[in-house]
């Protein structure tokens, strides 16, 4: 075959491919603009789905409390809730992958009974608390640590009342409440005969509304090696006001456990234990605050602390739209929700197959 024919064949093929690809690409890029009416229907539908999930308790209504129960229909509302958008503390905790009794996305997707809807849910406190160690002052009998605490929402400082708890081996101390304009320095003093690593837990209540509470936790070195990351020694799973602490290593021996809220704190009572796990009763505080649950113990010879919150937030679960390679539309809806009389922010992202 002469070279000119091959040239022509390739040139024609290239043109055809180019034109077809351009048509496909253009229609794909323009489809969200062309299908505006369809989008509006989808937006309305997804909005109603998000409301349904927050206003209905699902079936069985108490599927959150029972670790063995799987929801036949999915809903997050508290059974016999006092107000709309009040969610069940256990149903929320079971969405967190850290929980032993977590539901995976496939189970939720099946219970939702909408095969053409994929979604992602995020629940978090309304503002963030960040703790950073700034200085250490060593004394002969005690050591003072200075921390900077920031309370902010999207970079905007939030006025809050801040309360801290320090936990080390056989040691629990609560700080006074400090008024913060969004940035505050707190000093913590620990006796040198106390063993660490220590844990500094902070609860912050917004000055403008006592229902808006957030938290932050920072582990730091004190008479010890560097603290290990969260979840190294125990998997903590609060459910139905019982805390299950599953051991990651067999040589673990637990010493104490605490429940901390903004207004109250309590030592937890161990109700059962074996060589793989231990359980504690969680008190029902009348406080608009998440509970920070701390369990302390020893792995062989090293002291450790592990913590979680009840409800187990912040959490994100569901389909990951960030890495989606498709050009389908994503719809987001944000709500203010109540869990155990404290306010949180809940965001749904919805997407589905392109029409």
């Amino acid at each position: 075959m002469p070279a000119i024919s091959i040239d022509t064949f390739f040139a024609c093929s290239l043109m055809v491919i180019l034109v077809l690809s351009a048509m496909a690409g253009t229609s794909k890029l323009l489809s969200p603009y062309i299908n505006n009416a369809i989008d509006q229907d989808s937006a309305e539908r997804y909005k109603e789905v998000s409301k349904y999930l927050l206003l209905n308790s699902g079936n069985p209504p108490n599927w959150g409390q029972n670790p063995a129960a799987m929801p036949e229909t999915f809903g997050l509302a508290k059974t016999s809730a006092d107000s709309p958008y009040e969610l069940d503390v256990d149903k929320i905790s079971r969405l967190n992958s850290e929980n032993l009794y977590t539901l995976n996305y496939a189970q939720i997707f099946t219970a939702l009974k909408m095969p053409d809807v994929s979604f992602r849910i995020e629940i978090k406190p309304i503002f963030e608390v960040s703790i950073s160690p700034t200085a250490t002052f060593n004394g002969t009998t005690e050591t003072t640590y200075e921390f900077e605490i920031l309370t902010e929402k999207h970079g905007m400082l939030v006025q809050a009342d801040v309360k801290g708890y320090v936990i080390a081996e056989s040691y629990l101390e609560a700080t006074f409440v400090h008024a913060s304009n969004g940035r505050i320095s707190l000093n913590i003093t620990l006796p040198n005969d106390v063993n660490g690593p220590a844990l500094f837990a902070v609860l912050a209540k917004a000055s403008c509304d006592s229902k808006v509470v957030s938290f932050g936790v920072c582990a730091f070195t004190h008479n010890s090696v560097e603290p290990e990351p969260k979840g190294t020694f125990l998997r903590l799973s609060p459910l139905n006001y019982v805390l299950n602490a599953s051991f990651i290593y067999s040589e673990i021996a637990l010493s104490s456990a605490y429940a901390l809220t903004y207004g109250y704190n309590s030592t937890l009572t161990q109700t059962a234990s074996n060589n793989q796990s231990a359980t504690y009763d969680i008190p029902r505080f009348l406080d608009s605050s998440p509970q920070i649950l701390v369990v302390a113990g020893r792995n062989s010879t090293a002291f450790f602390t592990e913590w979680t919150t009840y409800p187990q937030v912040p959490l994100q679960m569901g389909a990951n739209f960030a890495t989606s390679a498709t050009l389908s539309n994503i719809f987001a809806y944000t709500y203010i929700i109540t869990i155990d009389s404290a306010l949180y922010e809940c965001t749904f992202w919805f997407g589905g197959p392109e029409d």
Binding site: P2, A3, I4, I6, D7, F10, A11, S13, L14, I17, L18, S21, G25, K28, L29, P32, A43, K47, S83, P84, Y85, I126, F127, K153, H154, M156, V158, Q159, A206, S207, C208, D209, S210, K211, V212, S324, A325, L327, N329, I330, Y333, T334, Y335, I336, I337, T338, S341, L343
Partner: protein, 139 residues
């Protein structure tokens, strides 16, 4: 000579196909972001925020105390980032009560959502307040 030219054109064609397809592969991963917020959605968000703030009577308490800065801060926390609001509190006789502006910035959009909310005081004397909340998405 002619054969060599043919080979070069084939290589050119392959290169062109490779470049075009790689550009499509890259552009397919670019998600179109259209941040559309309808006034109805904003009104729904605003109403829900007011309801939640009022669930323990703190909204009425702020009005009773004339604590307008707390009301502004609470709305700033409860509303999503990027939403501008302007709130006015009226008495049952539709007389403006708030003595300070309760807002987080000037409105820069024509699409303004409106929410009317009625709240009551939980103090010993019964009072009824009418709250008008205007919302828009900040530019």
């Amino acid at each position: 000579m002619r054969q060599n030219m043919g080979q070069i054109r084939i290589i050119e064609a392959f290169l062109a196909v490779f470049i075009i397809f790689s550009s499509f592969a890259v552009s397919a991963n670019l998600t179109i972001t259209q941040n559309k917020t309808k006034p109805n959605d904003l009104a729904s968000v605003g109403l829900q925020a007011l309801m939640k703030l009022d669930s323990d009577g703190s909204l009425g308490m702020c009005v009773d105390d004339g604590n307008w800065s707390a009301l502004r801060d609470a709305l700033n926390l409860a509303l999503p980032a990027g939403v501008s609001f302007n709130l006015t509190v009226y008495s049952a006789q539709m007389q403006q009560i708030n003595t300070a502006v309760i807002s987080n910035g000037a409105f820069s959009s024509q699409d303004v959502a409106f929410v009317e909310y009625i709240c009551t005081s939980r103090s010993s004397m019964f009072r009824c307040y009418i709250i008008h909340l205007y919302l828009t998405v900040a530019a």
